[in-house]
Symmetry: C2
Subunit: 190 residues, 2 copies
DNA sequence: ACCTGAACACCGTTCAAGT
DNA sequence: ACCTGAACACCGTTCAAGT
């Protein structure tokens, strides 16, 4: 006699996301997720193969959101303006979801890292802009330089690692100036 | 009747470090540490207040090692050469201890992050060089730009996030060129 | 077909009891 | 003074039993 489903992957995902946001990654336990969706822990395994898979689901979900935000701010202006816009968008996103950042810009145990395909997709807008800036041959190292700086920066900011005082806003804009001046410089030498 | 100590903080620290290196942070459990040092888990609490404190100890230890390596390569040449040297030293260190990287360049749960004082000390050589490059007023944002890029890069490399092919060595040297050209550029405008 | 309680092997941590 | 077994409250996960 089939009994009706009492929850769904969507509900479980939302509960997982809420727990990571409020209590960090270690706050996402199967028992607490189950409680939030109104079911017992073993039932979760009908929808999700493991806790690691659930973490991965939340991370991928978050990354897709970031990718959508990035893609939105691209297109109109010149490449430098586009890049500034995207960088600020990424930082804004990271700050608004700072408690979830651990899922996207940090190393996760095996099996919890977000879907690599989604990673590539979310970074695509950045790669498009660097191609315009430094040409196709150098676009890959340029995008890597840019993403390394960006992810390093937002992780440090989200973690509160800027402990020496001074304006973090200023440091971000300064960094943006350095990146653009530097990309201009190496592009000119080519 | 006092019984002789059967282990030490040093042994416990070494065991913790070995476990993180081989099995990641989650592989460091009190039971396994105890087994490695030849004691039962409860005895560890005579030397170390908690697992979190032990993780923090390992992280601080590792960071001190990095700081020593950085300080070593500084001094002789011009500031740009010093910076290149230090950047490569940091990357080499990160690669050689890639499995321990999670302790130094990643967000850790509260209470596990390395001693902030040690963080400041380890970064001091970098700050000294950026001061020479861009002047005292801009040295803080410059150092932040640099460390953001460096930590972002080594974390991505250690995590294997450079999945699109291409030479990672080249991307690092390219990034170094961008940073130096960029710092030169903004310094000139001052 | 889904949900449940019971169970298993693990955690970190505390503590009374031994020496 | 240090070490230990036992215990506690928690994990993730499996599974037979219920509906």
């Amino acid at each position: 006699m089939p009994t009706p489903a009492r929850t769904s992957v969507e509900q479980i995902l939302a509960a997982g996301r809420r727990l990571v946001a409020t209590d960090g990654l270690e706050g996402l336990t199967m028992a607490r997720v189950a409680e939030l969706v109104g079911v017992r822990a073993p039932s979760l395994y009908k929808r999700v193969p493991s806790r690691a898979a659930l973490v991965r689901l939340v991370a991928t979900d978050l990354l897709a959101e970031l990718g959508a935000a990035l893609a939105q701010g691209v297109g109109a202006g010149d490449p430098e303006a586009d890049l500034r816009e995207m960088a600020r968008t990424l930082r804004r996103f990271a700050m608004s979801e700072s408690s979830l950042l651990v899922l996207v810009f940090s190393p996760l145990p095996d099996g919890m890292a977000p879907d690599p395909e989604e990673v590539v997709r979310s970074v695509a807008p950045l790669l498009a802009v660097t191609t315009q800036l430094v040409g196709a041959q150098r676009s890959l190292p340029a995008a890597r330089t840019l993403t390394a700086w960006l992810t390093g920066f937002v992780r440090m900011e989200g973690q509160g690692s800027f402990g020496l005082g001074g304006s973090v806003d200023e440091a971000f804009e300064f960094g943006l100036d350095v990146m653009l001046a530097g990309l201009r410089g190496v592009a000119g030498v080519s």
